[in-house]
């Protein structure tokens, strides 16, 4: 059975994505890290589906794909706006909404 190592791999990928998200200041890299995390989640679903022989895992993968597409289209639009307004991609520079 490959599902246990696959789940392990998903965990590691998720961790890497999280590390990237938290450590990189460039907003583009943060988005890439988000993509990695989404992929890790998708992998976990696929592995679960394979483990139980169910199709639900693949269906969830489809939904994640949809989510990622929607998220990326909006997020990249925001990135373009931010870079246009602030002339930088530094995420810490966009902190005007502090409480």
């Amino acid at each position: 059975m490959l599902s246990t190592p696959a789940l392990l791999l998903a965990t590691m990928l998720f961790g890497l994505g999280l590390i990237g998200l938290l450590s990189r200041r460039n907003i583009l890299y943060m988005l890439l890290s988000l993509e990695i995390m989404l992929n890790a989640a998708a992998l976990a679903f696929i592995a679960g589906g394979a483990r139980w022989g169910q199709v639900d895992g693949e269906i969830m993968f489809l939904f994640i794909l949809t989510l990622a597409a929607a998220e990326v289209s909006v997020a990249l639009g925001i990135v373009l706006q931010l870079s246009y307004r602030f002339r930088t991609l530094d995420a810490d520079a966009f902190s005007e909404m502090r409480g």
Binding site: L18, L21, L22, M30, D92, F94, S95, E96, R98, G99
Partner: protein
């Protein structure tokens, strides 16, 4: 033709929408056409439907039409569906017919008012809501109409809202009827939880199957519905709003009193008659409430100064008769009185409106007098209305309906003898106060000069209603006087006929009728004796010690306003004032606490997206840890 039924409530609604959205841009003539025309077309369609209804009556007693499903869940289906049977057709015919006449009258009565379009918009909505109420197939739709009627009465009573006391009167009407509405809503909840349906037909059949006669649940539901009916119909103890409701323009009063609003309670009880039959005790209460209200209102009507207040109290009194009849199981008699009452009460209000119009909004009857010569049309129609209300025998409609009620009270197995005596006293008082009004306003010396008779648009409704007030009584003539029974058999499709107590025969009925006739004529005669002479006998009577006590007491409607003021309003205000300080301090603590937390929490809002991501991750980890434990 039957499938046009849905247009009857929708047309006035369409009129309302047109006038409410575009009324300000339309000319007065167009507003009058839309406002009047929508109700008039409804009346025409009612006539068309009626033709087919009467042709098809032997085959089916009711007609159902569903427009669409309003609410549709697995456990509850509420359709926007109309139900036409003999009872609702009677109501619809009265509402559209008399409603149309009142609209026609208003086109002239309010011709120089600024809120012309607004007035007709509200009136149309009022008629539409009332039609929804009576045509509703289920209790929820009925409740929609019920609330719509309440809303419109508020809007119309406060129509001249720039006078603060009129606004207060409108609020009073709204709040007092709201008490009844709340009870009614609770009743609906109980019905739904118990019977899983709100359809009127199903509720009745299921209730008869599920609840034994006199069971607690039937009693509770019947009492709650009764409170609702009492609130809308201005019966004891929720009657205080009706006299103040005179703040609205006179056609509004006519509409509220004759065709809509106050008759809703009568309709509700008649509609749910099977339910009330399951709770004999509550039905007894209905009778007692009706009797008490009719005596209270009749005595109050005797001493009022305002012409419209007299009529308002008279309405309460006549609705009391209807409740009395419902309470003793004489359903058809109650509805017959509703029919005649709508005719003569609309007539009386419109005629009173004509008087007020001619006297430049003078409403005090002590400043009127001798108008007989100046306003002959108004005088004769008013006279017919007053005669019908007091039940002048043989020629007026009121005689036949009131006689039927009194005969039912006399002969019903559900009633007591003292109820009949009380109702007889009420008939006497009715004659007295009706003709007090006639003699004060139209006889004696001229106190305020009138500026001429009203125009055609006001005169036509008066004449038509006068004709109706004389003629509709012939639908049901007691068999001691020839015996023609059209109304009772017509309603027997939907309402059970009353059984007569054994030992009641023609001779006792004749005796009873003579007693009723005598008491009414005695009242009229006494009114002539009191109020016709130049030196009024009644002034001396008022001056005595007994009079000094009773007159202010009756003028205030038996002191209910003051009682409620003392018992509810003042304690409530006192509570809000004193306890307000204490409660405010509680809220103060809340405010400081919220501010304290806000300061702390807003520090976490760094605006750094990575900080947010980290907190989300930490939170997720903590939750995961929690689950793992």
């Amino acid at each position: 033709m039957m499938n046009l039924l849905w247009l009857i409530p929708i047309l006035p609604l369409a009129g309302f929408l047109i006038l409410a959205l575009h009324g300000e841009h339309l000319s007065r003539r167009l507003v009058a056409w839309v406002g009047c025309g929508s109700v008039g077309m409804s009346a025409c369609i009612t006539a068309l439907v009626g033709v087919e209804f009467f042709h098809g009556l032997p085959d089916r007693a009711s007609y159902q039409q569903t427009m669409w499903n309003w609410i549709d869940t697995s456990e509850m289906t509420v359709g926007l569906s109309w139900h036409l049977d003999a009872l609702s057709f009677l109501m619809v015919a009265v509402i559209t017919g008399i409603g149309f006449l009142i609209h026609l009258y208003s086109t002239e009565y309010l011709s120089d008012d600024d809120g012309y379009a607004r007035f007709f918009a509200y009136m149309n909505l009022f008629v539409s809501a009332m039609l929804t109420l009576v045509l509703a197939d289920n209790l929820l739709l009925l409740y929609l109409g019920w609330e719509g009627v309440g809303l419109c009465s508020y809007l119309l009573i406060g129509f001249w809202y720039h006078k603060p006391e009129y606004g207060t009167a409108a609020q009073k009407a709204f709040i007092v009827t709201r008490i009844g509405d709340t009870a009614f809503a609770v009743g609906l909840f109980i019905i739904f939880t118990q019977l899983k349906t709100l359809s009127i037909q199903q509720v009745q059949t299921l209730a008869v199957e599920a609840w034994p006669v006199g069971s607690n649940i039937a009693m509770i539901v019947a009492v709650l519905l009764l409170i609702g009916a009492v609130g809308k119909s201005a019966q004891l103890p929720l009657q205080v709003w009706l006299p103040d409701a005179m703040a609205g323009p006179t056609p509004v009063s006519a509409l509220i009193h004759a065709a809509t609003m106050v008759t809703a309670g009568v309709y509700l009880i008649a509609r749910m008659h099977d339910l009330f039959a399951l709770a004999p005790l509550v039905q007894g209460i209905v009778a007692v409430v009706g009797l008490l209200t009719l005596l209270l209102a009749a005595s109050s009507a005797l001493v009022q100064h305002d012409i419209k207040r007299v009529l308002a109290y008279s309405t309460m009194s006549q609705i009391g008769y209807m409740f009395l009849a419902l309470g003793v199981g004489a359903w058809s008699a109650a509805l017959f009185h509703f029919l005649t009452h709508s005719c003569f009460k609309a007539l009386l209000f419109l005629a009173a409106g004509s008087v007020i119009h001619s006297l430049h909004h003078e409403q005090d009857i002590f400043r009127m007098g001798g108008l007989r010569r100046q306003l002959p049309w108004t005088f004769w129609t008013f006279l017919i209305g007053a005669a019908a209300m007091s039940g002048v025998p043989l020629i007026t409609a009121g005689f036949y309906s009131k006689d039927w009620i009194l005969w039912s009270v006399w002969s019903s197995p559900l009633s007591q003898q003292w109820m009949w005596v009380g109702a007889l006293l009420g008939a006497f008082l009715t004659g007295l106060y009706s003709f007090r009004l006639i003699f004060r306003v139209f006889f004696g010396e001229v106190r305020t000069a009138a500026h001429g008779e009203p125009g055609l648009a006001m005169r036509v409704p008066l004449v038509v209603l006068a004709g109706l007030s004389l003629s509709v009584g012939f639908l049901e003539i007691p068999h001691t006087l020839g015996g023609l029974s059209l109304f009772g058999p017509y309603l027997s499709q939907v309402l059970p006929t009353m059984e007569v107590r054994p030992g009641m025969d023609d001779s006792s009925e004749a005796f009873e009728q003579i007693a009723v006739t005598c008491s009414a004529l005695l009242g009229i005669g006494l009114a002539a004796f009191f109020f016709l002479p130049r030196v009024s006998v009644v002034d001396r009577l008022v001056g005595t010690a007994v009079g000094r006590f009773f007159v202010p007491f009756w003028q205030g409607g038996w002191g209910f306003d003051r009682l409620y003021e003392r018992a509810f309003i003042q304690p409530w205000f006192a509570l809000t004032r004193d306890a307000g300080e204490f409660l405010d301090r509680g809220y103060g603590v809340l405010v400081t606490g919220a501010e304290f937390c806000h300061v702390r929490l807003s520090r976490t809002q760094t605006g750094h997206i990575r900080w947010y991501a980290a907190t989300i991750a930490v939170g997720t980890l903590m939750l995961l840890g929690l689950f793992a434990l």
